[in-house]
């Protein structure tokens, strides 16, 4: 063992350059592989820590075949549990709108409040550190807070039993402390209050008297814990039948059929509600990239070892003649590979620790790596073992199988029959690299296209802030803002960033086909909006008079899908009741969703008292003074809330964050892939130049110029890269075209993209090859010829 080790170290040292190439290549690729594995592990671990994980389902409301809501009405689960034995338990979860927590006259902002049923801790495995699970919510004024928040608010005091005031003026008593919800949980809150708290908005003159009766508000997530072995498909259809029946019994007058879907909690993170594996595709993509990068580095090793096998051949032959047996030789060669691998793994560990902070920033995650942690160790060990097998076995078998006399012959003629295998591996390497480069270019171009795409409105110089309690004081707010000479316009739109997050079915209009269950997106606004956002009115005009509930505007797509011949002046009913509103005008289509989707039908209402966001357009100058004006107004109307504003120009970054992250990661990975490929190429060309020293000498004596020689040495590799391009281009086209199909608005992949990728690859190849080639070509031929 030590004998072999000694020989192995000596071999690594004497082949300095090749050892360094291999060590760097393997270290970098294993590092990338481990970083990707951490990412994949994190993605796959989402919501898997619940003991009941397999039996927890999230109920989605199926609007149409392709529109799902992740929310349901609140009463549904109460009735469902009473009716269906398959349902063991349920928990409703809602976001609780609250700004801050006050304790000892200090305000703490930036909390996520969840309103949940008391079954929460029975169904989910969120850990309770203090408090009695049986009576967590003994009344509606109980609150459970996370460990971190407890520390922040109470410091060293014991939080249990303490009273804290929430911004909406209710005092809550701390009845439990929970461990911070894990980062890989789709359900994450800092504080939990009882679901009944939401009842406070009911009562009085509203149609619905209690939240548990309100079938009209689809704002609540419903999680069901099913009995083991229960069929979730049948539960979802039973839910649909139940709600349809109940709604008819209630005499709502709607002949609507309700449909629901049950999505396993474990699939929540990686699948969208319609069952598309959107997140999983990225997991696959990155896993494949990890494998490809490892493969590229392993190919480097195999190529360099086999290329240089003729040099080793003599040693092996002498060992055989001296009585070495195949298993022993095999072990020796494997140990050599292992030694090299361990050297690179030492670098890998350092690199992973070093790069992890940057990687977390790049990927927007908080992953950690601890080599002594079992799962990290597993990732690390598995990767190492794979690499050892990939790199060690083939060269060991090849070298071990040399026949002694043949090996002697081999070293003298320098011929090598494995040259085609090696060339094929180089082609494979570059095929992978080129595909990754193309991927980076195309995704980058697509994002660029999305960013520059005309959305149908102008988002420049627009600042948005939530109205909160400015609602109902619009005219005063607007007039105050317009006093600032840098404000050129003000309006209100129901959602931030011109998105529309609300939709409705059951709209009827004259001539509507009974089977048409068109879903409309709905937004609320003020009259100034079309002008402020530069959205042209293509037909008709704004509603007359003051904003009221009697008029709406449609977008062109709505008119098209409704098949309205004279849309302006048409009377439509939003709720299939007898309250008709009049369409006064048609707005030109604009994009109000991610560009993955086409423009959908839209109804815009104009109400006097609409909630939503204040849109302020500046002249492009004095932005700070506009923000100061806004802040002053904010303090006047919303003294209890943090002032947050948003530039619409930043919208792109936020909306396409995951796409941007994917693009960034992909570009890093393709740089790594091409770097490792070039490293291998560098090794190969060095070796070629070494073996061809004499030939180069002869050619030079016969009149070859330096450029002749450089051409000769580079041509071979350029041809290989050329072949790799021919293979990579169609594969990349196929892959990227499929990926772009996720976008309703997409670029087409045209030849300049391929030309660019080709040029980048060729340039890098030339750069890699030429250094060694020039070195070989300028060597003194007199010395070269003497080399025997």
């Amino acid at each position: 063992m030590f004998y072999n080790l000694k020989i192995a170290i000596r071999n690594l040292r004497s082949n300095g350059l090749y050892s360094i190439i291999n060590i760097i290549g393997l270290a970098v690729s294993v590092t990338v592989c481990i970083l990707i594995a951490l990412w994949v592990k994190d993605e796959l671990s989402f919501d898997k820590f619940h003991e009941n994980e397999k039996n927890i389902y999230l109920v989605g409301t199926k609007q149409t075949d392709d529109i799902y809501w992740a929310t349901t009405p609140a009463p549904m689960s109460i009735f469902a549990k009473a009716e269906m034995p398959e349902i063991k338990d349920y928990c409703r979860i809602a976001w609780y709108d609250n700004s801050y927590v006050e304790y000892n006259n200090k305000k703490f902002y930036g909390n996520d409040f969840g309103a949940v049923d008391s079954s929460f801790f029975r169904i989910f495995d969120f850990q309770l550190l203090e408090g009695n699970i049986q009576e967590l919510f003994k009344d509606a004024q109980s609150i459970i807070i996370s460990e971190t928040k407890a520390k922040a608010i109470f410091g060293e005091e014991d939080p249990m039993g303490k009273l804290i005031r929430l911004s909406n003026d209710i005092s809550f008593q701390v009845t439990g402390i929970m461990k911070d919800m894990p980062k890989n949980s789709s359900i994450r809150y800092d504080m939990l209050v009882p679901f009944e708290v939401l009842n406070k908005t009911y009562g009085g003159n509203g149609f619905w008297k209690r939240i548990d009766d309100d079938w009209g508000n689809y704002s609540y997530r419903t999680c069901l814990l099913l009995q083991p072995n229960a069929d979730h498909q049948s539960v979802s259809s039973k839910l649909g039948e139940m709600v349809t029946r109940l709604r008819q019994e209630q005499g709502s007058g709607m002949r609507m059929t309700f449909r629901f879907s049950l999505q396993p909690l474990a699939k929540l993170h990686l699948y969208s509600l319609d069952g598309k594996p959107a997140g999983l595709e990225k997991v696959y993509l990155f896993s494949i990239i990890a494998v490809l990068i490892i493969l590229i580095a392993c190919i480097n090793y195999v190529n360099l070892v086999t290329a240089r096998s003729s040099k080793r051949g003599k040693e092996i032959a002498i060992r055989k003649i001296s009585g070495a047996k195949l298993p022993g030789l095999f072990r020796q060669l494997m140990e050599e590979t292992a030694l090299l691998l361990f050297a690179s793994l030492a670098i890998t560990i350092a690199l992973v620790y070093l790069l992890l902070p940057f990687y977390n920033e790049l990927s927007g995650k908080e992953m950690s790596f601890n080599i002594f942690d079992p799962s990290s160790l597993l990732i690390f060990g598995a990767t190492t073992l794979c690499v050892l097998c990939l790199t060690g076995i083939y060269p060991a078998i090849l070298l071990g199988s040399f026949k002694p006399m043949e090996a002697f012959g081999r070293s003298s003629t320098g011929k090598n029959k494995h040259i085609y295998f090696r060339k094929a591996l180089v082609v494979l390497q570059f095929t992978c690299s080129i595909i990754l480069i193309l991927g980076t270019i195309v995704i980058g171009k697509q994002l660029d296209y999305l960013q520059k795409k005309n959305l149908g409105y102008s988002k420049e110089n627009i600042i948005t802030v939530p109205q909160m309690k400015m609602q109902g004081h619009y005219d005063a707010v607007r007039d105050e803002l317009l006093k600032n000479k840098n404000v050129s316009g003000v309006s209100v739109f129901s959602f931030d960033n011109m998105t529309v997050g609300s939709s409705r079915m059951g709209v009827s209009w004259p001539g509507k086909d009974e089977n048409n269950d068109l879903v409309f997106h709905c937004a609320w606004s003020r009259f100034e909006m079309p002008e402020l956002m530069n959205i042209p009115i293509v037909e008709g005009k704004l509603p007359p008079g003051t904003p009221g509930e009697n008029y709406v505007m449609l977008n062109e797509e709505a008119v098209k899908q409704m098949k309205l011949e004279n849309p302006v002046g048409a009377k439509i009913s939003l709720n299939s009741d007898n309250n008709y509103v009049e369409v006064t005008g048609i707005l030109k289509d604009f994009n109000f969703a991610k560009l993955n989707e086409n423009i959908k039908p839209l109804i815009i209402s104009f109400t006097d008292n609409s909630w939503g966001y204040l849109y302020v357009k500046t002249t492009g100058e004095g932005t700070q003074s506009v923000i100061a004006s806004l802040e002053k107004l904010w303090k006047q109307y919303n003294p209890d809330y943090e002032f947050n504003y948003n530039f619409m120009d930043d919208f792109f970054e936020k909306t396409y964050r995951t796409d941007i992250q994917t693009e960034r990661l992909l570009s890093v990975f393709s740089i790594v892939a091409i770097f490792i490929s070039c490293l291998g190429l560098f090794g190969l060309v060095t070796y070629t130049a070494e073996t061809k020293t004499k030939e180069i000498g002869i050619r030079k004596v016969l009149g070859a110029s330096v450029s002749n020689i450089v051409n000769m040495l580079s041509k071979e590799f350029l041809i290989l890269v050329g072949i790799a391009m021919l293979i990579a281009f169609p594969l990349a086209y196929f892959w990227l075209d499929k990926m772009l199909q996720d976008y309703a608005y997409r670029i087409s992949i045209t030849w300049p993209v391929f030309a660019l990728a080709g040029m980048i690859t060729l340039a890098l190849t030339l750069l890699t090859v030429s250094w060694q080639a020039i070195k070989a070509a300028t060597a003194n031929p007199v010395k070269s010829i003497k080399t025997e």
Binding site: I698, L702, S705, N708, V782
Partner: protein, 232 residues
């Protein structure tokens, strides 16, 4: 054709300075066949490399066809070499991956001669050394004598004015050696100047004149004889 005066070539390493050529003077006229003889390490090969413009002298003058070439740069020397000089080596120096035809063709390729023309010239050269029938073989498929004949064909294919031969028969048996020497002689008779480094007394008899070298200088034959006599 060639005139060298006070030519010096000094190899320096960190520790030693080796004088390979020590103020050497020599002249070779056109159509001459000159043999250079001397013991190992006397500077024969260094001289041949400088004459072949594969190496540059440390100092001194080297006039080739009336032009001072000792200060020429790599490119100019390469051009001059391509056009005027053919080489024959002891170890043949054929390229294993190329056929006989392609090996001979090589100097023409680097002289930018058109393929059709090249074919004619290569075939003529191969005819000259009687290797036409082996034109599609690889060097490893030939005997040593045959390989050297191919090397000679390659040396003469672009009709150089000067052939530099470095122990052309060193790796050959006597029969093959004679064949190669006859080949060189006939080339010389057709007008090619030949400078040949050799250890073989027999081969040197083919030359018009013999230059003896010792310790980087030319010496007379008598001087050598005296040396030998003194040693005895």
């Amino acid at each position: 054709m060639i005139k060298i005066t006070d030519l010096e070539k000094i190899y320096r390493t960190e520790e030693v300075e080796t004088v390979a050529l020590n103020k050497m003077c020599m002249e070779v006229k056109e159509h001459e066949f000159v043999a250079i003889m001397g013991p190992s390490g006397c500077g024969k090969s260094t001289l041949l490399n400088i004459l072949g413009m594969l190496d540059d002298p440390t100092s001194g003058s080297f006039v080739f066809n009336g032009a001072e070439v000792s200060k020429y740069n790599e490119n100019k020397r390469s051009d001059l070499r391509k056009a005027n000089i053919g080489f024959v080596f002891q170890s043949f120096n054929l390229i294993d991956e190329l056929t006989v035809f392609e090996n001979v063709e090589l100097p023409l390729v680097y002289n930018n001669i058109k393929p059709a023309e090249r074919k004619v010239m290569v075939e003529a050269a191969l005819e000259g050394v009687q290797m036409m029938h082996r034109r599609n073989h690889f060097p490893s498929q030939l005997s040593g004598g045959q390989q050297q004949r191919v090397a000679v064909a390659r040396a003469v294919v672009n009709n150089p004015k000067l052939i530099l031969a470095d122990e052309p028969t060193g790796n050959l048996d006597s029969k093959n050696g004679v064949e190669v020497m006859q080949l060189l002689t006939s080339l010389n008779e057709k007008g090619t100047t030949i400078i040949m480094v050799t250890h073989s007394e027999h081969d040197s008899r083919y030359a018009h004149r013999i230059i003896h070298m010792l310790d980087g200088k030319t010496v007379t034959e008598n001087f050598l004889k005296e040396l030998v006599y003194a040693a005895q």
